[in-house]
């Protein structure tokens, strides 16, 4: 719907990809693990290999959780924009069609957070 304004009202989006110096944003959330209060935002080159995201980037963010050591991301159940999705660890974000500001989530069946509280 159009904004009702007194004069012409159109402004560029504040967060388009060109403003991130060659990088893009990707969000990643670990479902049923509210220990981390919200999904994370990462700023990465589009040619980042998905495997590198999993092996090098995500551990820094998630390793404070006592269950992280049991997580095998290659067996995680992924969603992209809320839809079931299967990543290929050898492909890059760009090749996998993970665009700027894509939201990814993963579930780790069998791991239910601290004392099963989904924390």
């Amino acid at each position: 719907m159009a904004v009702k304004a007194l004069k012409h009202y159109q402004f560029p989006a504040a967060d388009t990809q060109d403003k991130f110096h060659g990088n893009q944003l990707v969000y990643v959330g670990w479902d049923k693990h509210l220990f981390f209060c919200a999904p994370f935002a990462f700023c990465l080159p589009p040619n980042t290999r998905f495997g590198d995201l999993c092996d090098k980037v995500l551990p820094q963010a998630f390793s404070a959780h006592p269950e992280w050591s049991q997580v095998d991301l290659s067996k995680a159940v992924w969603k992209k924009s809320g839809q079931p999705w299967q990543p290929d660890m050898n492909k890059t974000l760009a090749e996998l069609g993970i665009g700027h500001k894509e939201a990814l989530r993963f579930e780790t069946p069998g791991l239910n957070g601290i004392q099963g509280s989904c924390s």
Binding site: V3, A5, K7, H8, Y9, F11
Partner: protein
């Protein structure tokens, strides 16, 4: 356990907020300073206003006047809300006793009828001019830049509302509710008021808020307040209409106080740069000439054949005031 906290002598970690300390050093700051400086946001705004997409919410570009630091425009009275309302409450208390005295003692009946007619013809329609003053100052308070000037402009706006209401009471005391209708009719239709109304309406649609400040607070007030609440007031007192002077005491005191604040703003802004001086001087000339023209027929009602001389005096005083403020007019 009883704790006697008063006996504790502790050394503060800091004396004031950092944004105050950056301006004045880390020493105890006044309530005016902490309640004024840098209160308005300046840097980051989320959305452009729907009502003015060309600017951000608080934008220095809404006037042609340029200041390196808008907080140079401080209020010599150092009014923050508390000190402002307490000062006005004291004045309204005095005004209230004056109105009570006039009403309870029936002092209006002692006013010579020709003077009563002048008061009805001039002071009561003037409430609409005051209302314009309220609107213009609320505009500045909304769209001006920097709390140092936008804050006192709101106080000034409310003062104008207060004065409009005192003028209304004068109308009610002198002529009852009908006096207000008569005055409104004069404001809308009497040829003697039309130049004034045209000027007020033209000022109402002025976009540049500093221009508005100059037109309203320096020029318009600088001419009609001395004329009505000083010269005309002298005439009331000299000729047995002290009752009216009693009811306008608030305005006389108020103008003496607030014009000093207006002067401080103009002086600092004009001294900032040659460009500011030129712009402000130009505005003064433009509005002064129109205001003089608008006041001429009203001066005749007030002063009869003395009108020209009185107007001449008022304008001469105004010109010398502007010269002292560093304007070239």
């Amino acid at each position: 356990m009883q704790i006697d906290l008063r006996t504790v002598s502790i050394k503060p970690v800091r004396q004031t907020f950092d944004h105050i300390a950056r301006r004045f050093g880390d020493k105890p700051a006044s309530r005016y300073q902490e309640g004024t400086y840098d209160l308005q946001q300046t840097d980051i705004f989320h959305y452009r206003p729907l009502w003015d997409p060309e600017h951000v919410l608080f934008d220095q570009k809404r006037t042609q006047v340029v200041m390196k630091d808008w907080y140079a425009l401080k209020d010599p009275r150092q009014y923050y809300y508390g000190s402002y309302t307490i000062a006005r409450a004291r004045q309204q208390d005095a005004a209230e006793s004056n109105f009570d005295m006039v009403e309870e003692r029936g002092l209006v009946d002692t006013v010579p009828s020709n003077l009563k007619q002048i008061a009805l013809a001039l002071l009561v329609p003037l409430r609409h001019v005051e209302w314009g003053g309220n609107m213009n100052n609320s505009y500045i308070s909304a769209y001006g830049y920097g709390t140092a000037i936008t804050q006192p402009c709101l106080y000034h706006a409310m003062d104008h509302l207060g004065i409009a209401q005192y003028l209304t009471r004068i109308g009610l005391v002198l002529g009852g509710p009908e006096a207000l209708d008569t005055a409104k009719d004069a404001w809308m239709n009497d040829p003697r008021w039309q130049e004034m109304r045209r000027l007020v309406e033209d000022v109402l649609v002025t976009q540049d808020w500093f221009e508005l400040f100059v037109a309203q607070n320096l020029v318009l007030e600088g001419l009609y307040h001395p004329m009505f609440f000083d010269r005309l007031d002298d005439q009331f007192t000299a000729n047995g209409a002290t009752a009216i002077s009693m009811m306008t005491r608030f305005m006389t005191e108020w103008y003496a106080e607030s014009s000093k604040w207006v002067d401080a703003q103009i002086k600092v802004a004009a001294a900032e740069s040659a460009a500011n001086k030129e712009i402000i001087s130009g505005w003064v000339q433009k509005y002064r000439d129109r205001a003089v023209k608008a006041l001429a027929p009203l001066a005749e009602v007030a002063f009869g054949d003395q009108a020209g001389a009185v107007m001449g005096d008022v304008v001469a005083d105004f010109n010398s005031r502007c010269a002292k403020l560093g304007l070239a007019i």
